[in-house]
């Protein structure tokens, strides 16, 4: 095609008059260029056998790809590698680091790096790059809300392949931080260009990134664990529904869907439901109604007269039929949960039977909640057993979940009104009413965030139940200050025992992430780690192991 086009232009060249020559030359140049482009496109089509197109939600589309600014702080290999990572058994293993040591006093962490690793720009990875990355983040902590290094006093390179971190105080979850922060090269790092075209050590390198549109990555042939089989991956950004339609017309190889879509079928694709550590719960304000003074001196109304009664919280937790709620709200996708998942090393959930309607009713009656006026809702001292649950309006799934719970607990004589609103309003409403939350991360600091009494009001979304328990507070401090991983895990587990009897949160479901995956693609289910909270993105955690079937 290219040749015939050229010949045509040459014939034109001799036949036309001189005055048109310029125009023709321009046109033919354009045509030649066009032919070239087409040739290239054909080549692309030819090797489309090695490339895939994915939709995995909106998660990373509105932010920088630079790990120094919190880009891709998920803890799995993609464009970068961190020092350590989590494996499919939720244990930490070396990523860029070969091994690590924690000193007796738990204030010094020493990482030995693997040798012979190269960045995608060809430069070799040394301890200096690690020090550079950490120091840059520490100097610009305000830009990075994902990886908190405020506990670090000093980072230094002991030799070319050894890095030592000195902490200001005991901070046992420090390992999690080193799993989240991808390492950038000290020589090539440029704060502006790394937003869009970063360079890391990871299995994929960025070819093109158009914010809110697409991210194209290609395999890093020199990746130190072996080049990925898939040569080119394009991530597109669109609406969930548009993505589903595109998948139907065969344009996507992987598409994330909401649970309500799982019952559908797409020709040439199969549904995958992947395990997560993401738990949905409803915060139940534990305090009696009172006024507190906020950080700026303003008066804040907190507490709820209904959920502050332990018997109501307990009746909800043991009375609700979680499986039915999941069936109704999520088409049966997800597992009933009564606490953190056991795929976390620190997970320690006290299991109990739920949907014990009779027992729940009895608990309520014993503590004085009795339906006196026959409207199906209990009362006590003139207060009806009713409260509100707020859900963010951009996540319809949480609304469905709360609505299903409200429907289910009517049988207990508890009335719940479900409302949708913005996150800003939720932050305020959580002081007095229930809110549907989603949590799932490897770091046990989520327990600190949700149960430590001092976070109430002072930290946005921190301890939304207003839970107060001195034993729990003390144990959380102990866990953070622990000298060893084992000691920390033991303390974190003990905290969960302590608060289990107070039911400050109504745990409901351990969700599963749902996707439709092209039949020609193998997403290597064995090496998928349990997905952290991430709205569908975590499926790429093992992108380097994906294969296209022949």
């Amino acid at each position: 095609m290219k040749r015939s086009c050229g010949v045509f232009c040459v014939i034109n060249f001799w036949m036309k008059k001189a005055c048109i020559l310029c125009c023709l030359a321009l046109i033919s140049a354009g045509m030649l260029a066009g032919c070239n482009g087409k040739g290239k496109e054909k080549e692309k089509e030819k090797d489309s056998a090695d490339s895939i197109v994915c939709y995995v939600g909106h998660g990373f589309w509105d932010s920088s790809l630079d790990p120094v600014k919190g880009g891709f702080a998920y803890g799995y290999d993609f464009i970068y590698n961190a020092l350590v990572r989590v494996n499919a058994q939720s244990e930490y293993e070396g990523d860029l680091a070969e091994s690590w040591e924690i000193s007796e006093d738990a204030l010094t962490y020493t990482y030995k790096l693997k040798q012979g690793i190269h960045f995608q720009d060809g430069s070799g990875l040394t301890a200096e790059d690690v020090v550079f990355t950490y120091e840059t983040v520490m100097a610009n902590q305000g830009q990075n809300e994902k990886v908190d290094l405020s506990q670090v006093a000093q980072v230094e390179a002991l030799d070319e392949y050894t890095v030592q971190f000195t902490l200001k105080e005991h901070f046992s979850p420090f390992l999690d931080s080193t799993a989240q922060l991808g390492i950038v090269p000290s020589d090539g790092y440029d704060s502006d260009s790394y937003d869009r075209t970063p360079v890391g050590t990871g299995p994929f390198r960025v070819v093109q990134y158009d914010m809110d549109q697409q991210l194209i990555v290609e395999a890093n042939e020199d990746y130190f664990e072996g080049a990925p089989q898939i040569q080119r991956v394009t991530f597109v950004d669109m609406d969930n529904e548009a993505a589903f339609s595109n998948a139907r017309s065969g344009q996507l190889d992987v598409v994330m869907v909401q649970p309500s879509y799982v019952a559908e079928t797409i020709e040439g694709m199969h549904a995958e439901r992947l395990e997560t550590m993401d738990v949905r719960n409803i915060s139940l304000p534990c305090r009696e109604p009172e006024m507190l003074t906020g950080a700026d001196g303003e008066e804040i109304a907190v507490g709820n007269p209904v959920t502050s009664d332990l018997s109501v919280r307990k009746a909800l937790s043991i009375g609700v039929n979680r499986q039915e709620v999941i069936d109704n709200a999520f088409n049966g996708v997800g597992r009933p949960a009564k606490g953190w998942t056991d795929n976390l090393i620190w997970g320690n959930t006290k299991e109990y039977e739920d949907s014990k309607t009779e027992e729940a009713r009895q608990i309520l009656e014993e503590s004085g909640w009795i339906d006196t006026d026959g409207d199906g809702i209990r009362e006590k001292d003139g207060i009806p057993c009713a409260f509100e649950i707020y859900t963010p309006s951009d996540e319809p799934d949480r609304y469905l979940l709360a609505a299903a719970v409200a429907e289910d607990v009517q049988k207990l004589g508890i009335s719940i009104e479900v409302k949708q609103t913005t996150w800003d309003e939720i932050a305020v409403k959580s002081y007095t009413q229930g809110v549907v939350w989603g949590f799932g991360q490897y770091s046990p600091m989520v327990i600190d965030n949700q149960f430590r009494s001092e976070h109430f009001i002072t930290q946005t979304y921190g301890n939304p139940s207003g839970y107060q328990n001195e034993t729990a507070d003390r144990l959380i401090e102990e866990a953070i200050a622990a000298n060893s991983q084992a000691e920390a895990v033991a303390a974190w587990k003990e905290v969960q025992n302590v608060y289990a009897g107070d039911y400050p949160y109504l745990y409901l479901v351990n969700i599963e992430h749902c996707y439709f995956v092209s039949d020609r693609l193998d997403i290597s289910a064995d090496t998928q780690i349990p997905h952290p909270h991430g709205h569908g993105i975590p499926i790429i955690c093992n992108l380097k192991d994906w294969k296209i079937k022949e």
Binding site: E241, A242, Q258, E407
Partner: protein
């Protein structure tokens, strides 16, 4: 021959006037019926029923059901009823503002006139939907926000009309005479102006109505109006968008048609009333 045709004319039952009255009557009956049905309906009619998720239209559920098994027929009626209530309130408020501002501008003149004109230009200069969203957001969204937004943004066109009508008779002799007899401008407005502008005003109100309903639905559809727990046509339509790709067509089609019917009926009623009340075409 001519006598014959004249004598025959009254025998045609569907003459223009009757047709118009019938259209107007039908429009009001439909809207009042929907409004009343929605207000009197028990919430259980459109309650959650998980055993009937995504039922296609059938005898039991003429409009089908949604992802929570809620009956779309009753939900649509309740939603349209909410929309009509907001629309009625909004056009009442908007038209009163328009009447007050229009008459003040025409009678007081001077700075008052310039100020009103300036306000009208200002409001018409901002894209309507953006103004709606701004006001609704400022008022805290929800039912209150959207009602305030719709009520406070539909007066400029009507204000211009009222002002123009009032200006026409401002210098009429009987108006001047009443001034001479010591009547205040407020009395003149009440006794001479209001009756004069009433036909234009009433038609304006009726024609405002479909706009108000559509805008309420639009703002809600975009997420700045009623929250999801309240059935409103905008909520229903935006929810149906989530499922349209999986072939649940009934969730969008029927509520959409109901909204369309309400708006078109009102529009037809307004247009017909205009013909009837306008002295030039009223006796055709």
């Amino acid at each position: 021959m001519s006598r014959k045709s004249v004598s025959r004319k009254p025998e045609i039952f569907w003459n223009r006037r009757r047709k118009i009255l019938f259209t107007v009557g039908a429009a009001f009956v439909y809207l009042l019926a929907v409004l009343a049905a929605g207000m009197l309906m028990s919430p259980e009619r459109y309650g959650i029923n998980y055993s009937a998720k995504f039922t296609a239209p059938c005898l039991e559920h003429p409009f089908g059901t949604d992802y929570m098994g809620r009956d779309m027929f009753f939900r649509s009626i309740k939603g349209l009823s909410n929309s009509i209530a907001v629309g009625a309130l909004a056009s009442a408020v908007s038209s009163l503002i328009a009447l007050a501002l229009g008459l003040t501008a025409a009678l007081k003149g001077g700075i008052a006139d310039r100020f009103v004109n300036w306000c009208v230009d200002l409001c018409m200069g901002i894209p309507h939907l953006i103004l709606l969203i701004l006001i609704s957001f400022m008022m805290g969204r929800g039912g209150r926000g959207v009602t305030a937004a719709v009520a406070l943004t539909h007066w400029p066109e009507l204000t211009r009309l009222v002002r123009a009508e009032a200006l026409q008779i401002r210098s009429a002799r009987y108006v001047q005479a009443s001034y001479r007899m010591g009547k205040t401008w407020f009395q003149v407005a009440k006794e001479h102006m209001v009756p004069q502008v009433l036909p234009v005003y009433l038609i304006g109100v009726v024609l405002l109505f479909p706009h108000a309903i559509m805008h309420e639905a639009a703002v809600t559809f975009l997420g700045f109006g009623f929250p999801a727990e309240i059935p409103a046509i905008g909520v229903i339509l935006s929810e149906s968008m989530d499922y349209i790709t999986t072939g649940k067509w009934w969730m969008a089609v029927f509520p959409g048609l109901m909204l369309l019917a309400a708006v078109m009926l009102f529009d037809a009623a307004g247009e017909n009333l205009k013909r009837l009340l306008n002295p030039n075409s009223g006796n055709e």
